[in-house]
């Protein structure tokens, strides 16, 4: 157990460090330094200003010093300063991240409920037709572009029926509709994985043994199948963090909500490299943290994972 936890935490830290390094290297691959790029759109800037700004932001230092200084900054929460506003990146992000987190979390809850509903109906219904319909929902959800669904709902609810304002005004619908749009999008992968692993579970002999004990279909589903299928579903849930964040950006744009989305788009279009770096690092950290939590919770669902430790890596193929 201790070994498992230590291994997972070590792996998570390694991935964050790797992510940071990859981003740093990617920035070096740019045609020139971030300040020059940022200021290149403005022809009025002279070389002295550029050099001055480079010195301020530390881009005149040798690469290794920059790398280590920025890496050291991570531990103190200092992820540099935005080129556009001069604000600390951390402050710029933390100022808007709240509303995005709220949107993402409620959308995630919606997605889980939707996915569970699909799986419950598909597994327990006796109507073959209903099962067929429900089984086709996740692929459909996966195919609907977030922005399109958002626009269609806006068109119907605000313009055609007038029950919702075009801009966020705090009313129930203006909160619920974006959550629903994003939830539908995120529910697709969760439902698909859950359906698949439930299917695998039902093909195992222990299901027959349970039936032979006299257990009913719903008993088997709720008391055994769900817990067995929970592990893989939880893993995919961890991976949907990226989808959730990307979806948030688009949803915020469609519904004119403030949040991380606007910052991301602004940072990218103005080529504010430190801000982009900070955003990438933030999302990667959130992803790693969520997946670490999933890994640590996994043994509660399936104790076998603790035993299979370390057997996953394959030896070289050759005889």
């Amino acid at each position: 157990m201790g070994r498992y936890v230590a291994q997972r935490i070590g792996q998570a830290l390694l991935v964050i460090w790797l992510a940071y390094t990859v981003i740093f290297l990617a920035v070096q691959l740019l045609p020139s330094d971030p300040v020059t790029i940022f200021l290149s759109t403005d022809s009025a800037v002279d070389q002295a200003t550029i050099d001055n700004m480079k010195r301020q932001y530390g881009y005149d230092q040798p690469l290794l010093v920059q790398y280590l200084a920025q890496l050291g900054g991570l531990f103190t929460g200092d992820v540099g300063y935005s080129l556009a506003s001069g604000e600390p990146v951390a402050l710029r992000i933390s100022g808007v991240v709240g509303s995005t987190i709220a949107l993402a979390l409620s959308a995630f809850a919606t997605a889980v409920v939707l996915a569970l509903a699909v799986v419950v109906v598909a597994t327990l219904t006796r109507s073959a037709l209903l099962r067929k319909v429900v089984l086709n929902l996740p692929p459909l959800f996966a195919a609907v572009p977030v922005f399109w669904l958002g626009l269609v709902l806006l068109e119907l609810l605000s313009i055609r029926w007038g029950v919702m304002s075009l801009f966020p005004d705090g009313s129930f619908l203006s909160l619920a509709v974006p959550v629903f749009v994003l939830g539908v999008h995120v529910s697709a992968p969760i439902a698909q994985v859950l359906l698949k692993s439930i299917d695998t579970v039902y093909n195992q002999p222990f299901i027959d043994v349970l039936r032979a004990k006299g257990a009913s279909a719903s008993w088997i589903f709720f008391r055994h199948a769900l817990k067995n299928a929970g592990g893989p579903a939880m893993t995919i849930t961890g991976i949907t963090v990226g989808t959730l964040l990307a979806g948030s950006v688009i949803t915020e744009t469609v519904f004119a909500r403030s949040g991380l989305g606007a910052v991301v788009l602004q940072a990218v279009t103005t080529q504010d490299v430190p801000l982009v770096q900070g955003l990438v690092l933030l999302t990667a950290s959130v992803f790693v943290a969520v997946n670490l939590a999933v890994d640590l919770l996994y043994p509660l669902l399936d104790p076998r994972i603790l035993k299979s430790n370390g057997q996953g890596s394959p030896r070289a193929l050759a005889v």
């Binding site: 002999p205 032979a212 006299g214 009913s216 817990k227 104790p303 076998r304 005889v319």
Partner: protein
């Protein structure tokens, strides 16, 4: 053609009463159009143990499962299954839930996958009582005591500790005991035992079946015992029902079947199951013959923990043109030994000699050369052949890789090899999926011989096959040995087959070779205590005593 019991005298031992279970004209068809069971009649008296014997695909499992209503959704069932006044064949799922577990129970085939892997043993045993409350509510403590009592009943040590354990922490034998405890917990009238021990080692099989027999007698439970193994069936059943192709071929008391089998198919099954009729094959080579394959002090330690010596100081030699068998239970290290001899695994210590040459230190290229003369035949012909390739390409692969002949010569050689393994030339254009298991194993043998191998390591090469197919492959192996002077190292857990094919036998246990010697010596006069236990656990006691009295 089905034989009904009504037409003939009931077994003398049983009183003539209304049967507990009466199957009449049962027919099970699958949506794909195959008829798994085609009009079967079968009765079961209270307390009777009936063995349902047949090869894979004979319909025995389908028949047994229809009694529990556990057929897949695609199955269509017709006929009657009368059980204590109800027709099970027409029962709804809800009504079935009240019968299953309480009045009809199941002991499943594969103990490894038959318990929910993410629930504790205790909760899974107690579940039966939660499902069938029967009016009274048990307290947690009462339930726990009941579960402990059941686990003790099936001979599980330290039952209190087991309650909190998960299935993966238990051995196969213990898991099967837990499943037996679950099946017997409400003392059902009928138990379906579906190949309950075919996944277990013989010594474990014996102890598990002892528990099973004892409980069935104690509770007066009637049992339908499904098995492919006639030897096990004759040891434990009152009556034998032989099935083939979805119909019943023979249905009589054990003694009658053994003494006077009526059906031609049963006769053949009995012949194969009987202890080696002919003495072990005469040693073609003299005892002084040179070793084709030799192990000297082989040791294999798998990483972590010094105690984990999978193979421990194993030495033996296989003489040119003879068969040496390594027998042992799962985990005894016999396959690891074979893989070291094949040079697929590096020994931690010790030496491997092939035709007198030390091959322990060979590099990749050296091994490639070695495998022209030393080849391996796998247990499972399904996974041993690339499903995408045609048989001709599979057999030709070594010829191509070793650059042994041109295109025309290649085709000729493939045909020659097919003939050697008794497959017709037109099999060359088939794909593995189109062949039966026995045919696939023939292809695997042909491929092993393609580059001119003189020594074959056969790793459980017959275990995945039905009895009669096993006999054919055995005959083929014997024929090839005579014609080509092949040397075999035969790895097996099946004592019956080993006795028939080997010149010499080595018995392995926990990584050590405990006894070696000529076949007749090992089987007739075992020296080591473990060999005796192994032989004693080997099913087929009734068959052997019958053979002895016939002599």
């Amino acid at each position: 053609m089905s034989v009904t019991t009504a037409d003939q005298a009931a077994p003398a031992a049983l009183p003539q009463t209304a049967p507990l279970l009466a199957i009449r004209g049962l027919k099970v068809e699958y949506q794909s159009g195959t008829t798994a069971v085609g009009g079967v009649d079968l009765t079961l008296q209270a307390g009777e143990i009936v063995a349902l014997v047949g090869e894979s695909g004979s319909g025995k499992t389908t028949l047994a499962r229809s009694v529990l209503g556990l057929l897949p959704a695609s199955a269509r069932i017709s006929g009657r299954i009368d059980f204590d006044g109800t027709d099970l064949a027409s029962l709804s799922e809800k009504e079935f839930c009240r019968i299953r577990g309480r009045r009809i129970g199941l002991v499943p085939q594969d103990p490894g996958a038959s318990l929910d892997p993410v629930r504790t043993i205790g909760s899974q045993v107690a579940e039966v009582f939660r499902l069938h409350r029967d009016g009274r509510r048990r307290s947690r403590l009462e339930l726990r005591a009941e579960v402990v009592r059941l686990l003790t009943l099936v001979g599980i040590d330290r039952p209190e500790e087991r309650l909190r354990q998960y299935p993966h922490e238990l051995s196969g034998g213990l898991k099967q005991r837990v499943l037996i405890a679950i099946a017997f917990s409400l003392q059902p009238q009928v138990l379906i035992a579906d190949e309950p021990t075919s996944a277990l080692d013989v010594t474990v099989q014996r102890t598990v079946l002892e528990v099973f027999d004892r409980l069935a007698k104690e509770f007066g439970t009637a049992v339908i015992f499904v098995t492919h193994d006639l030897a096990v069936a004759t040891d434990h059943a009152d009556r034998i029902v032989v099935m083939r192709g979805g119909s019943v071929r023979e249905d009589r008391g054990v003694e009658q079947v053994l003494a006077r089998p009526e059906d031609e198919y049963t006769v053949r099954l009995l012949e194969e199951a009987a202890p080696a009729r002919a003495a072990a094959p005469a040693a073609a080579a003299s005892a002084a013959g040179t070793f084709a394959l030799e192990a000297q002090g082989l040791v294999k330690v798998f990483d972590r923990g010094a105690a984990n010596r999978a193979v421990d100081a194993v030495s033996f030699g296989v003489r040119q043109g003879t068969t040496f068998s390594l027998v042992g239970e799962s985990g005894s290290g016999k396959s690891t030994t074979a893989r070291m001899l094949m040079r697929l695994l590096d020994p931690t210590e010790g030496t491997v000699l092939v035709e007198g040459r030390d091959v322990t230190g060979l590099d990749g290229r050296g091994k490639r050369e070695l495998w022209r003369t030393l080849q391996l035949v796998y247990q499972n012909p399904d996974s041993a052949l690339d499903p995408r390739l045609r048989i001709r390409d599979i057999i030709a692969e070594p010829i191509v890789n070793f650059g042994l002949s041109g295109r025309a010569g290649q085709r000729e050689r493939v045909l020659e090899l097919l003939e050697q393994v008794n497959l017709p030339a037109r099999a060359a254009s088939a794909r593995p999926m189109e062949l039966s298991g026995g045919q696939r194993q023939r292809v695997a043998i042909a491929r092993a011989l393609a580059a001119g191998a003189r020594t074959l390591v056969l790793d459980e090469a017959l275990s995945a096959l039905d009895v009669l197919t096993q006999a054919q492959i055995l005959a083929l192996l014997e024929e090839l040995q005579r014609e080509l002077g092949l040397t075999y190292l035969f790895i097996s857990h099946d004592l019956h087959v080993v006795e028939r094919i080997s010149h010499e036998v080595g018995v392995m246990r926990r990584g050590k070779l405990v006894e070696t010697g000529p076949t007749a010596g090992i089987f007739g006069n075992p020296q080591h205590e473990y060999t005796r236990l192994l032989l004693d656990s080997n099913p087929g006691h009734r068959l052997r005593s019958l053979a002895a009295s016939n002599k």
